[in-house]
Amino acid sequence: MVDTTKNTKLFTTYGVKTSKTVTTEVASKLISKAKRPLFVVGTGVLNPELLDRVVKIAKAKNIPIAATGSSMIGFVDKGVNAKYINLHALGFYLTDPNWPGFDGNGNYDTIILLGHKKYYINQVLSATKNFSDVRAISIDKSYIQNATMSFGNLSKADHIAALDEVIDLL
């Protein structure tokens, strides 16, 4: 299995607390066990290698997709429940217990993150980290320090292999 936990070198520090690294096994368990998961993807998922895997993960557990940035165009006719939302607004709404969510059934307990610019997602997650209880699991290529749990920094090849492991384990 890919060791997704070893490289946690920071590109800058946000302070005293950084996310715990997570193996593919634990990441898939957390995703599977989430009561109200939301798959928050950035425009980076338009890379075909990633897009295919996002669709597989979403379908495996019927997870709704928050298609942030301009990623929505990748999900047209893919048979997944994807909706566009601005990432910064989403970060705010996740801190509001009264947000009805995309389906009207309320806020989410777990967000899964993929395809983001690391500086942008880290900044947005500094809101959820400090002002909400939402659990943020990053399965991105870079270590996302403001997530609750994150893969470490991975090579492209290892990242794809790790995502495939997550898909197999779901």
Binding site: F11, T43, G69, V76, Y84, N86, L87, A89, F92, W99
Partner: protein, 808 residues
């Protein structure tokens, strides 16, 4: 005593005695007190002239009620006082009692205040300098307008007529900046929302300070005056003729450079040497004495992202600095290539020797011999002589030595082969560029991947700071991109200054009714997430759609760098008026005041609202009726935070690029909370439901494609007539389909009746509204019978301010 005014008077019985009164303390504030006498002179005065921290708090809080502060702290810790450092994670309180939100709000506020101080101090410097040169009585001349200082009039109530009239405006701004800065001290403020109110005031003061700066220089330095046909200026690194001696000016304050240009003109040097600039000094150099539309000889090299690149190229023979947006490593970088650095403003002195009082030729000798790497020169007359002389002497010396940091072909091969591909540079790169992969390709002799990085690279040099092999990564990129850099030749229209009153009269109705779909103001710096072409793409998209595109500063430069298939820039393809389908460049950073002022002018001139000391009412008008949205796509500076926040207080929303989450505070509305989307109808004070737009006052987007969709949506205003709404919905839908692949989910929230729906898609949309939202449709008449939650009333007078309602 209150009847005394500035000027001179004689006392009849005392012969040969004359008393001159230069300044009456408090006279300006006294003059705007809403008395009957004052109203006869200056027109009616609004309720808030010369606002201090508490004065406009109600208006800030009205905005915050819908547009809630969203904090994204940059750090879990507060390291501000010696009680700390304190861990505030999870919104804990620190030793002083301040919680995480309060700390994030304070940090954001401090950025806005810093930006405001920069522009205002720049304004003060220019104003004092120009009054020294031309006198206090020099009449302000901004072109064909009666409303010549909209921000100043709106905020202070003053209507300046001369340069001297700008002094009390600066005094007011400086007093408030001091009061605001005091609140940053530990133990001064507790509530995050009150820091947010202070940030809003700092933003407003920023626009006042910017307006003073640009009014002073437009008036006194012969800049274009509300001129839609201001001349085109060459822009780009490739425009500089390196075979001539080259002067490069960097910064924002053009005062010193005007002396250099005067010296060049006086000594017949303008065609014998090059003068180019980076950042906003560059823009103002090209406006200097160009009200006659003569093509400028000064050139624009580019933005702060190009500062190290132009230095490393070895092209400059001397660099002159003034203030703001100047890299802190220029002396070190310049010294390596024997490029003398002349600091001409007290704000940046770089540790260099102050040679202000020395003989110019002696300084030239010391600089040319390398005895000193640079110097401070605060006497602008001497500066004007010193800089060209240094360039003329250094050019042959530097040419003979072939000074450049760009590696030779052999050096390049050796440097790329040194790379261990450890990945440290990629981790440090703020743009997340795949530097190791590009170098790996370069090892095989193919530099195309490195060349591609050039446009995405912001020239920060963080890659070099972490490289274990001490590879000058930036220079490798520049070497690989030599051909592309040589071809970087664009055109930008010189800053025109304000939008004139006649233009407002002609366009106001279209804008408020929505038949001109909106104003997209593309401003700010160059910290773009995906290269400089983003801003060009956005500008072109909206120009093709007949929006008005306003631009300024570094974004205006980068927009001019790209051409269509016929080799034309957007400035050549689209005219420069305040009119649909036009692109107008107001000028440098301080010229951003003219963009916000355009909204004030629409309210004052088109809608006949009183401008003086009446901020909340005018801002309320803009928020509800003027479809204007700002875009600071590469905002990096504190000044950009101040400009955007000032716009917010004025009721103008802004979209920023993804880096700008690092400012720490956004203002975003809950589109799902219907209680937030109501206004009063001022005809009778009744409540009216409104569509959720603008849905933010300041927020970020990840990509330029997403930004396009957001900009179009957030131009929708409650006041749109049917045709206007239908035009705006058309653009929003088309952009959403183009860039997101889908129609907007919440389109139905913006439909009041069938006439709002674009004709070409009306039937399809009616079907969608019926099937997805249960709306009742009369299919024979193709009319909506029931469904919309908002009503169309052409006579409604929407306002957030209860006091403006008739019953109040």
């Amino acid at each position: 005593m209150s009847k005394l005014t500035t000027g001179s008077f004689s006392i009849e019985d005392l012969e040969s005695v004359q008393i001159t009164i230069n300044n009456i303390v408090g006279a300006a504030k006294e003059a705007v007190k809403p008395t009957k006498e004052a109203a006869e002179v200056t027109g009616p005065m609004g309720p808030t002239p010369f606002p201090s921290i508490a004065t406009l708090r109600d208006w800030s809080f009205t905005l915050f009620d819908r547009y809630e502060p969203v904090y994204t702290p940059m750090c879990d810790q507060c390291c501000y006082c010696t009680f700390g450092p304190c861990n505030l994670e999870g919104n804990k309180r620190g030793a002083c009692g301040l919680d995480m939100k309060g700390q994030a709000a304070r940090e954001f506020f401090l950025r806005c205040l810093t930006g405001c101080a920069c522009h205002s101090a720049h304004g003060r410097h220019l104003l004092n300098h120009l009054i020294d040169l031309f006198g206090e009585d020099m009449p302000i001349n901004m072109g064909a307008s009666n409303v010549i200082a909209p921000n100043i009039q709106l905020v202070t109530g003053l209507q300046p007529k001369t340069l001297g009239d700008l002094k009390p405006v600066m005094e007011y701004v400086e007093e408030e900046v001091g009061q605001l800065l005091a609140t940053v001290h530990a133990g001064q403020e507790a509530a995050a929302i009150d820091y947010d109110n202070k940030a809003m005031l700092a933003g407003v003061l920023d626009h006042v300070g910017m307006e003073v700066s640009d009014i002073a220089q437009v008036t006194a330095l012969g800049f274009p005056k509300s001129d839609p046909e201001a001349p085109l200026v060459e822009t780009g690194m490739g425009t500089i003729d390196a075979s001539k001696p080259v002067i490069i000016a960097i910064g924002h304050n053009v005062a010193g450079v005007t002396y250099i240009m005067d010296y060049m003109e006086g000594n017949g040097l303008t065609d014998k040497m090059e003068i180019g600039g980076l950042c906003c000094t560059a823009f103002d150099m090209t406006r200097y004495k160009r009200e006659d539309r003569k093509a400028p000889y000064a050139k624009i090299v580019g933005t702060i992202s190009k500062e190290l690149k132009i230095v490393r190229s070895g092209i400059p023979d001397v660099i002159v600095l003034d203030e703001q947006c100047v890299r802190a490593d220029l002396v070190e970088e310049g010294q390596k290539l024997k490029i003398p650095i002349i600091a001409s403003n007290e704000k940046i002195m770089y540790g260099l020797p102050d040679r202000t009082n020395d003989d110019v030729d002696a300084i030239v000798e010391d600089l040319v011999s390398g005895k000193i790497p640079g110097c401070v020169m605060l006497d602008l007359e001497k500066l004007g002589e010193l800089v060209p002389k240094v360039a003329l002497k250094m050019a042959p010396i530097r040419e003979a030595e072939g000074l450049s940091a760009i590696p030779t072909d052999e050096e390049m091969k050796a440097l790329v082969s040194k790379c261990a591909e450890c990945g440290e540079c990629a981790l440090a790169c703020p743009e997340e560029l795949e530097i190791p992969a590009a170098i790996a390709v370069a090892k095989g002799g193919d530099y195309s991947a490195l060349e591609e990085l050039h446009d995405y690279c912001v020239g920060c040099r963080r890659c070099e700071q972490v490289c274990n092999k001490e590879i000058p990564v930036l220079s490798l990129i520049e070497k690989a991109a030599q051909k592309a850099i040589a071809e970087e030749k664009g055109l930008v229209r010189a800053g025109r200054g304000q939008v004139s009153d006649p233009e407002i009269r002609a366009e106001g109705l279209n804008l408020v009714m929505g038949t001109t779909p909106g104003v997209i103001a593309i401003i700010g710096c160059s910290n773009f997430p995906a290269g400089t072409k983003d801003v060009y793409n956005i500008a072109e998209e909206f120009l093709n759609r007949n929006y008005i595109v306003a631009v300024s500063g570094c974004s205006a430069m980068d927009i001019g760098m790209y051409k269509d298939a016929d080799g034309k820039t957007l400035y050549e393809r689209f005219p420069g008026r305040f009119e649909r389908g036009n692109i107008f460049n107001t000028g440098s950073c301080v010229s951003n005041a003219h963009i916000s002022a355009t909204c004030h002018k629409v309210a004052a001139i088109f809608a006949s609202r009183n401008l003086s000391g009446n901020l909340a009412e005018i801002a309320d008008y803009s928020l509800n009726r003027i479809g204007a949205v700002g875009l600071a796509w590469g905002a990096y500076s504190q000044k950009a935070a101040a400009i955007g926040t000032g716009c917010n207080m004025y009721g103008i929303p802004a979209v920023l690029g993804p880096h700008s989450g690092k400012y720490r505070r956004a203002l975003i509305a809950k589109t799902y909370d219907d209680s937030k989307w109501k206004l009063y109808d001022s005809r009778n004070g009744s409540e009216m439901a409104i569509p959720p737009s603008p849905e933010f006052l300041i927020t970020t987007a990840e990509t330029w494609q997403e930004a396009c969709v957001m900009l179009a949506k957030n131009c929708i205003r409650v006041s749109d007539n049917n045709m206007g709404r239908s035009i705006k919905l058309t653009h929003w839908m088309e952009l959403s389909e183009k860039y997101l692949g889908v129609l907007p989910e919440d389109l139905y929230k913006f439909v009041r009746n069938e006439a709002d729906l674009p004709l070409a898609k009306r039937e399809m949309l009616l079907k969608m509204l019926e099937s997805e939202h249960g709306w009742e449709i009369d299919w024979k008449k193709k009319k909506i019978i029931s469904g919309p939650s908002i009503k169309f009333d052409v006579s409604a007078q929407p306002t957030n301010l209860k006091r403006l309602c008739k019953e109040a």
